[in-house]
């Protein structure tokens, strides 16, 4: 690329005025043996809490520096060039917070082209190039390394991968072309498809070396010294670089067959994981397949085209919103949370109940807070059973090697049981997890309040009852909060913290402090029935159940929402929640909100017959609703098509969320989205839900306006 061309990128650079530039700092190093290596350090001058990223200004600087080094190489001044990073990072990847502002296709295309221009220099510098992967190397960060002739990696490095399919892009700075040639097609599909779609997993240094991303692995204590010595060995021929995984699909028909098989397998994976609701993963496979038979330069053109297209998609912008603005930012600074300094120290916890939920809570508290936890129930036998469950769970983790024997002993010793609530006398926080019935919970809190101090925070784990009503007869209702976990408690990251009109700042602050210590994403919600996640899920399930009851074919009803890419279908979700629970909560919501929440007579029938799921697996691996089940049910004669049902559900969700925001259930649509991502696993390419509803027109149809005004 000529200097004239690089100037064309100034408009692109101007589009991201606040870029934190990662500089390209070059030092000449004399290697033992006498070779001269230009060592390029990528460094933004900030500490490890500010990862190095790649924006247009960064790439323009890198391009300029590499151009100079290419001239030096031609002049015989350097024998090699190596790229490494500041501590803990090679480069964390493209600057997403900047890239999301590239609104025009021209800017997107320029950004895609610029990366190739810079990386092509590394691939063709005239002398061998090395990447010393000292730490995080994601996306464009790893693609810098892939463009080099050789790579070393630190066994202490974490966060190595090509997560573009997760973000909504393709590894389009050469990664999709170069990676499979180094690792073989199967591992490349793992890195480019399976890992990104499995909660954005990445590799560590050992794994990266094992699959062939790097040619040598060195320990972190003297990683750079060993890497430089190794480079010297490669240059003088004393080190031989073996690449057992490397392949060439152009010349090896067997590899071409493996390539095709890997693509087929990855396609099936994408289908199962995302229902093909987002465009990026399929684009990755297209580029991967095309790359098998064309040159790198030809592939680059396809990659640039794919990147340009995908950077304009809603899925990409929604993912950046969900990933950066929600999970990285809002989750860490919850809206409406009081000053953390107000939180009371919690040195002992009480859990009322010794059932399954109570046991999960006690275990979570003991493991994460490492303070004594007392569980109580109405008799010693139930208490013993609860403790036995907890000890059993600890032993399971110990057997799997997840925790040490010392940690297991500690956790077990922290949890004790009692048949009387006197054991709560010195507790700072008591949570109830008893039967979901108002009178029972009120009785429990009356007994607890008789024992505990006036400051002890009380919490209810209710999912459907009014927290305000539960605390109606408390002497100190200001200390009561809702503390709503999701099942399974240990795995689901969301915690809805429910505030009533009486709850004081100290109680809310303490709840948030606990949520943080439990490593949950806490969202403050107002005490309205079913809070956020369950209200939205039940509204959705109600729409589908209603269509089913009215005669829609079950397969049509259950698959109508496939374009949303939800983690499971409504009927599967119904079976997982339990039909009786879902039916009960629907009834409660119907009582509060009216007919918006459909109460299915057919579900009542299923419950009466002890049927736990509509679908049952068939012998051929499919699923069906048995005739014996269908015979019990009654259907109307007003079936819907999938399209009608999708539209109706989108509108219902937009309406319900509009009402929730008007009621002040949460601070804004961002909290709704955060709840649905963390509490229900809704996909980031929908941005949770509200950006999607804006994009499909549901917000305007239902509420006359979008949730997010640009």
């Amino acid at each position: 690329m000529s200097q004239g061309t690089i100037e064309n990128f100034s408009a692109l650079a101007a589009a991201i005025p606040n870029e934190i530039i990662t500089h390209s700092l070059v030092t000449d190093v004399s290697l033992p043996g006498g070779k001269r290596l230009a060592l390029l350090t990528l460094d933004n001058g900030l500490d490890h809490s500010k990862p190095t990223t790649l924006g247009p200004n960064t790439l323009i600087e890198l391009h300029g520096v590499l151009t100079q080094q290419k001239a030096r190489a031609a002049a015989g001044e350097i024998d090699a060039l190596a790229v490494t990073g500041k501590p803990y990072f090679l480069v964390a990847g493209a600057d997403l917070s900047g890239v999301k502002h590239l609104s025009s296709p021209e800017h997107g295309e320029a950004m895609a082209t610029l990366g190739h221009a810079a990386y092509d220099l590394l691939a063709d510098l005239g002398v061998p190039t090395f990447a010393f992967i000292n730490g995080v190397a994601l996306g464009g960060g790893l693609e810098i390394a892939l463009a080099c002739t050789y790579r070393t990696v630190s066994s202490g490095a974490n966060g190595i991968g090509l997560p573009e399919a997760f973000i909504g892009l393709v590894p389009g700075w050469g990664g999709v072309y170069r990676l499979p040639r180094l690792t073989g097609p199967e591992a490349a599909m793992t890195v480019m498809i399976e890992n990104p779609l499995n909660n954005n997993r990445s590799l560590n240094g050992v794994a990266a070396a094992k699959i062939g991303i790097a040619d040598a692995l060195f320990e972190p204590a003297d990683f750079l010294e060993r890497s430089l010595l190794w480079a010297g060995g490669v240059l003088d021929g004393s080190v031989e670089v073996a690449r057992p995984h490397a392949v060439d699909p152009a010349t090896d028909p067997e590899v071409a067959a493996r390539w095709a098989a890997a693509a087929t397998k990855a396609r099936a994976f994408i289908e199962a994981k995302t229902s093909n609701a987002a465009p990026a993963p399929a684009k990755v496979i297209e580029a991967f397949e095309a790359g098998a038979t064309i040159s790198q330069a030809e592939s680059a053109q396809l990659e640039i085209a794919a990147l340009t297209e995908l950077m304009q998609t809603n899925a990409f912008h929604n993912t950046v919103y969900a990933f950066l603005d929600l999970t990285q930012k809002r989750a860490k600074r919850p809206a409406g949370a009081p000053d953390a300094k107000l939180a009371r120290p919690v040195t002992k916890i009480g859990v009322v109940g010794a059932g399954l939920m109570a046991g999960q809570l006690a275990l979570l508290f003991a493991k994460n807070l490492k303070v004594p936890v007392v569980i109580t129930d109405i008799d010693q036998a139930r208490v013993e059973k609860g403790l036995a469950y907890i000890h059993g769970e600890v032993d399971k983790q110990l057997a799997k090697g997840r925790i040490s024997p010392d940690a297991a002993n500690r956790t077990k010793a922290l949890v004790t049981g009692s048949a009387t609530k006197d054991a709560f006398a010195d507790a700072d926080f008591v949570i109830e997890a008893v039967f979901e019935e108002l009178a029972v919970k009120k009785q429990v809190f009356a007994e607890v309040e008789a024992v505990v101090s006036a400051e002890c925070i009380l919490a209810t784990n209710t999912s459907s009852l009014s927290v305000t009503e539960t605390g109606r007869d408390l002497k100190h209702p200001e200390r009561l909060v809702g503390f709503h976990f999701f099942n399974p408690v240990a795995l689901m990251p969301l915690l809805e913290i429910v505030r009533t009109e009486h709850t004081n700042e100290v109680a809310v602050a303490t709840a948030f402090a606990l949520g943080k210590a439990l490593r949950k994403t806490s969202v403050l919600v107002k005490d309205e029935a079913a809070f956020v996640v369950n209200r939205i899920l039940l509204r959705l399930m109600g729409e589908i159940a209603n269509a089913f009851d009215q005669g829609t074919d079950p397969a049509v009803a259950d698959n109508a929402l496939r374009p949303m890419g939800l983690p499971m279908t409504p009927f599967t979700l119904l079976a997982m929640v339990g039909i009786p629970v879902a039916h009960h909560v629907s009834g409660s919501l119907n009582a509060v909100f009216g007919e918006r929440f459909h109460v299915s007579k057919n579900q009542q029938v299923l419950i009466e017959h002890g049927i736990k799921s509509l679908w049952v697996p068939t012998a051929d691996g499919g699923q069906e609703i048995p005739a014996s089940t269908l015979e019990l049910l009654e259907f109307g004669s007003n079936p819907s098509t999938a399209d009608e049902l999708l539209l109706r559900t989108q509108d219902a969700l937009a309406l319900e969320i509009g009402l929730m925001l008007a009621e002040g259930v949460v601070a804004g649509p961002e909290d709704i989205d955060l709840c649905m991502i963390m509490g229900a696993g809704w996909p980031m390419h929908m941005g949770g839900i509200t950006p999607y509803l804006d994009q499909v027109g549901a917000s305007e149809r239902a509420n006359g306006k979008k949730f997010h005004q640009k």
Binding site: L25, L39, G45, K86, E219, D222, L224, E225, L229
Partner: protein, 413 residues
Amino acid sequence: MSPQSVNTRTSARQVRDVVFVDGVRTPFGKAGDKGIYHGTRADDLVVKCIRDLMRRNPSLPPERIDEVAIAATTQTGDQGLTIGRTAALLAGLPQSVPGFAIDRMCAGAMTAVTATAGSIAFGAYDVVIAGGVEHMGNHPMGAGADPNPRFLSERIVDPAALNMGNTAENLHDRFPAITKERADRYAVASQQKLAAAYIAGQIQPDLVPVAARRPGEGWDLHTADEPPRPGTTLESLAELRTPFRAHGRVTAGNSAGLNDGATAAILASADAAAELGLPVKMRLVSYAFAGVEPQVMGIGPVPSTEKALAQAGLGIEDIGLFEINEAFAVQVLSFLDHFGIDQEDPRVNRYGGAIAVGHPLASSGVRLMTQLARQFQEDPSVRYGLTTMCIGLGMGGTVIWENPNHADFGKDA
């Protein structure tokens, strides 16, 4: 698993021979914000030495190391937290390997060697790592120290003795025959000898390459010392100011600088070295420390050497090689004059000394030993050599070694 099980309760205890197996060091840097290690941690420097020692001696199973003794004069910050233990952990040695921190100012690493050597001889250890570090950029000399006011009020220590440059001027006062001209001449020779040793490749084999990153700059790789000024002349030294005394004699040119660096060595019982196939570069003959008036601390090597020679039953004439630390030229000259050795005697500091290469306080003792070991290898005609250094607050330390390459090695003298 080690030391080799000896029932020290019942069996007659025997003193065991201690050998110097191998020693390495980082290139030394200039302290301060212009130096190569500005932005580098002291503990990282030690760790690189330990790891290189382990790579150079692959037949040594890491779990056989019984102790890691690392010296540092200032034991806070990146030199704190019991640096022998932290360095062992950071170097990736097994958790079963213990470590400790040690301080005798400039003789820290030397004392790490003698303390662990004594324990090897006693039978407590088979194999140890001993070394030292001083990042004088991160830890300026005396920083954070709080001298007891009684030093002054009861005249226990002359206040001038707390400043090493002053003690060097005091030494010139005591020995008027040691002129500034002699000191400068000695310093020029030190620079020339080091430069020659570099050209002959006598220094580089025992240097550990260190990658370092100064704030705002990219990574660099250091494979040579930063302080040397090979072009130094008598004329250029004559122009330097005398910062400790107006019209004094001690200058930056005839003193060691303020430096950053680390050293480490492997010591073993002779039996363990044989068992593990470890090289024997030197055999420990004797060691001694001695105290002198703090205000002339530079004279310390004289009494410590006399003690060590007496213990060994040797005379100064038996010593074929001297590695004496050059904190100040005057201090080396006072030693040489005392023993009647010419300041240009080829037995003395063949590779030059701290005036040229630098003196990161607590690390220097092992540098002397590593260099002596290489000179033993080069010169089998020499049977005995000594390493000695002066120590702040008025002390000297001396270790006498025997050359295993000498024809009479292992035979009683």
